[in-house]
């Protein structure tokens, strides 16, 4: 039954996905409960101790209470220590589980399943959301369970002392544990929603000032932008101030119930003492017990906000991972052909939801050992062709064959080992040059990596680096230039044993001399029997290619000089 309920929300589904950690979760909940109960024990026992002492009994008869007080005091600290360790351990483990799980889901979706100009934003948000899920157990699911168990225990204990006190305690805990978190959650949601737009606008203003400040300054319009920012800022502040009231009231409600509970329990117990129903020596224990019990209630307000945030994060992750998988491996894959050309026959392609056919009954053949250049205006579909050739997408009509076999009948990884693409703006991983190149063929040795880099024209540069091929490239290649990045990407492809090499805009961002030199390197590969396709909008040396094609109106046209 729990499973069915959990299945209903993204948060619950994330919890179900990590059910192998429920035992560890159980341990940390147990320790958290024990921690609170130790505090309850400490306060209750103290109350009893001094009341009993006030009756001036033999000092020895107080020993049990004194030992109890010390025992609870020490065990509370130790339990808390254990609880923090186990809950952190749990958070780290679940984070790894979730990262692994969602990465597996993401693999078949990239790149075609997550189309759009804001893919980079989407991906970094995805990573942030997965990280947010580490709060799943520790701060979202644990507090309500702990509160429930502790409340039950404390109410039971109070009822044993005096049934009516138990009843009052239960009522106050219900109010404090439900009403106050509810008010907090409402206030936070309301404020979050209202402020989100203003916050976004203001962040946009500041970013604009930082990025476009020079243009604003040259236009002499600093004051216009300052006025705009100040107006947006004022709007946010006035919203924040309005929301501060309700957020404060929600917080105050929590305090009022916690404080009021101790008073109410005392008020309920006073008549019982007067009537003799309750031994007066137990009276002080009741408000103190109540104070301890509310320690389990206090974190609920924060948990309510965390639950919302975590649930939303899980929802956004699902939005990505539940997208349809654009390309799937065949059930019974065909063996990879030993050789042959790549051929497009009568291919139609349009983006899902797009209105324009990018390819329309297009035909094309690329043979081993020839170098082909493909040009055409931006946005005409050149990069799309590259993605079709390595099966990041599937054609709508017609077929693409490799060595006579439809590529849809091949395993994707095998196909991509034979037809290797260097995508536009190839990604640089934050590691060394060698590791980045090695991606082309992980089993390659250092000698081959150095060769591939030399082939891409980087020999002199590598030799000039103190750490050589072990130099780091920085976060997304921040420490290398645009040209070096393109060449490392080329070396990555050279290292592979692929029979067809496709380069998408390899010379963008290079000066003309640099572009010509890199182009020579790429074309040179055909001498090893590889088929080369270079997609570019500026060809440095048309004579070096065997053929030059132009993409227009959905078809490939031979360009004759």
């Amino acid at each position: 039954m729990i499973t069915a309920r959990l299945q209903r929300t993204p948060l619950g589904r994330a919890a179900l996905a990590t059910r192998n950690r429920w035992r560890l979760f159980g341990l940390s909940v147990f320790l958290a409960v024990a921690t609170v109960l130790a505090a309850v024990g400490l306060l209750t026992a103290s109350g009893y101790l001094i009341s009993r002492a006030a009756q001036r009994p033999e000092i020895l008869s107080l020993t049990v209470a004194i030992v109890g007080v010390r025992f609870f005091g020490i065990s509370r600290a130790l339990l808390r220590y254990g609880e923090r360790l186990s809950s952190h351990d749990l958070a780290f483990r679940t984070l790894t589980d979730l990262r692994d799980r969602f990465f597996q889901r993401l693999i078949p979706l990239v790149p075609a399943g997550v189309d759009g100009s804001r893919r980079a934003d989407l991906m970094s948000r995805f990573v942030g959301d997965v990280d947010r899920l580490q709060d799943l157990y520790l701060r979202a699911l644990s507090p309500p369970i702990v509160a429930l168990v502790c409340s039950a225990f404390c109410v039971a204990l109070a009822s044993i002392i005096l049934p009516v006190a138990g009843l009052v305690l239960a009522l106050m805990m219900l109010l404090g544990g439900v009403l106050a978190p509810y008010a907090t959650r409402r206030a936070a949601r309301h404020a979050g929603r209202r402020q989100a737009a203003a916050r976004g606008r203001l962040a946009g203003d500041l970013h604009e000032i930082a990025v476009g400040g020079a243009e604003i300054a040259v236009a002499g319009r600093e004051d216009d932008w300052l006025a705009l920012t100040s107006a947006d800022d004022g709007e946010l502040v006035s919203l924040q101030q309005k929301d501060a009231m309700s957020e404060g009231l929600a917080e105050g409600l929590g305090t009022m119930f916690a404080v009021g509970a101790a008073v109410a329990v005392t008020a309920a117990a006073v008549p019982a003492v007067i009537s003799g129903e309750l031994n007066g020596v137990l009276l002080a224990a009741l408000p103190l017990l109540t104070m301890g019990a509310f320690e389990a209630i206090m974190p609920l307000s924060q948990a309510a906000a965390v639950i919302d945030a975590t649930d939303e994060a899980a929802g956004r992750i699902e939005e990505v991972t539940e997208r349809p998988v654009p390309v799937v491996d065949p059930e019974f894959p065909h063996q990879l052909p030993a050789g042959g050309s790549i051929r497009l026959e009568g291919v139609d392609f349009r983006y899902p939801g797009g209105d324009r056919l990018l390819l329309e009954r297009a035909n094309l053949e690329i043979r081993p050992g020839e170098a082909v250049a493909l040009t055409g205006p931006s946005g005409i579909g050149k990069s799309t062709l590259a993605e079709l050739l390595v099966r990041f997408r599937d054609v709508d009509e017609g077929s693409i064959t490799f060595g006579g076999v439809d590529i849809r009948e091949l395993e994707q990884d095998k196909l991509r080992d034979a037809v290797r693409l260097a995508p536009q703006d190839a990604y640089m991983f934050n590691t060394t040059i060698a590791e980045n190149v090695k991606l082309g063929r992980p089993e390659a040795d250092r000698e081959r990596i150095v060769e591939a880099l030399a082939e891409a024209g980087l020999e002199d540069w590598i030799n000039s680096l103190p750490e050589g091929i072990d130099s780091p490239v920085g976060e997304d290649g921040a420490k290398i230039s645009g040209g070096q990045r393109q060449r490392i990407a080329a070396a990555r492809v050279f290292l592979s044993r692929a029979r067809f090499l496709i380069f998408d805009e390899p010379t963008a961002h290079l000066d003309p001399e640099g572009a010509a030199a890199l182009e020579r390197c790429l074309v040179g590969r055909r001498n090893q029997g590889c088929g080369i396709l270079v997609i570019t909008h500026t060809i440095a040396d048309p004579d070096s290619f065997d053929r030059i094609l132009r993409l227009g109106n959905g078809r490939f046209h031979e360009v004759l000089d």
């Binding site: 010390r70 400040g213 305090t255 095998k414 080992d417």
Partner: protein, 570 residues
Amino acid sequence: MALGRTRAPGASRQARETQRRLARSSRVARNHLIVTVGLGFAQAVLIIAQATLLAKVIAGVFMDGDSFSDVAPWLIWLGVISVGRGLAAAGFESAGRFGAARVMSELREKLSRHLLLNRPGALQDEQSGDLVSSAIDGVAALENYFARYLPQMVLAAIVPIAVLVWVVQYNWISAAILAVTAPLIIIFMILIGLLTEQRTRKRWERMSRLSSHFLDLVGGLATLRANSQAESQSGSIRTVGEEYRRETMGALRIGFLSSLVLELLAMLGVAMVATAIGIQLAGGHMELVAGLTVLLLAPELYMPLRQLGAQFHASADGMAAAERIFEVIDQPAAVTSPETPVPVPDPARRSVAMDGISYAWPGRERVLDKVDLELMPGETVALVGPSGGGKTTLANLLLRLAEPTEGTITCGGTDLASVDPRDWRRQIAWVPQRPTIFSATLADNLRLFNPGASDQDVAVAVGTAALGELVGSLPEGLDTLVGEGGRRLSAGQTQRIALARALLSEAPLLILDEPTAHLDHETEVELAAAINDAAADRTALIISHREEPIARADRTLVLDEHGLRERVAA
């Protein structure tokens, strides 16, 4: 790694300095603090009153045989106090948020004024780009500091002292126990701060590295798949995560020991007070009402201290954010403004000259070394040369966005250093290498340099810059929102808009920095006409490594490692 700057030995001194500066920086922040202190006192008084009255009721009923009507008034007062504490807590929380909102607003304004007036275009400058963007992000982190940490600190300072003062009059032994343990907790907290700050920082750094490993894999997933490596790399998520977990747990086992001691002190403090009171009561040296009051107050004394410990991260993050913001605000202005500026010379009639100009980024080699250049009124000069040769830097110096390390720039003999840079910049129309599309309508974007341009002028500029097709395709034409939050534009469209801006400008000097980069050949040819149009009737400097935009220049200069020289026609 600019964020994880080494803060080793002087770390806490720096933090204190930052804290002081934050408090001093504004009247708003001071007022915020005053209100918070006032409400803190109110809470302390209510806490003490509540404990005292509750003890009175319990002792009265249990020991003195009071009747219900004897204690009823006290119970009513206790109810009032509960509501009062709720209100005080509400006020305390709202005041915290209220004040934080205003302090943040003030800081944001300082930041944006500094960025716009003193260092325009800071994010484009690679030296400070990271710093600026992290300062902007940091404003949010600091909000938590003001809304939560600071109020909590006020409570931690007021409540324990008030409680102690009250307890002393009842029982000095209990007061002594509290007076010894509470400072011990504070000392431990400072020790935790000092000893574990570095370890905590290292841990967060490793945490962020782990997170960036995942980000790296996700960001490069398309590349991984193109290389058939996605499956094999995914295994590293587990190995790296597990390795990190084992290391961190090892560190935490020791790290949490200090908070264990803290917790032990607080709990043992209560236990010791209870025992001491018990023994005194049993010996008849104390009244129950006094003992109960002290016992009820003991946990209240430790509570704000323990909660302060829990806010430690909010404080550390907030301080780091504040330091970043101050670091940005403290940067000197990019160019110095003269105290008594001379009137701005007119580049339409006077030549602009650079004399022996050198420029170097702080701590780097020179990009420009003793360059001389003269732009005669009305001429079009092309500037070519390899990437990284200093062409853009030269343009920035002419725009007075940066100060030359050496040499002077003059216009008609007037040194530009004696002219208000804001006045000088207004003489220039500029197409930067990466133009910004502002979040506004397309028409407003086009009117950047000339907000008063007529609709007709805008229409002409749209035609010349080949924007007609774009405008026609937009649902609301020129009134369509573009930029962040609006319609996204391609690099080519952005470039055309920047050109149209320059066309609309009436400034006498035009600087174009790579106006056709990122464009395909056809568009480039199309725009050459617009460039020639923009350059007509004014002094123009066109930077390009393509030939098309500079075909009609009067002369072409080459800037490379050998310096600036005239290009001999091929």
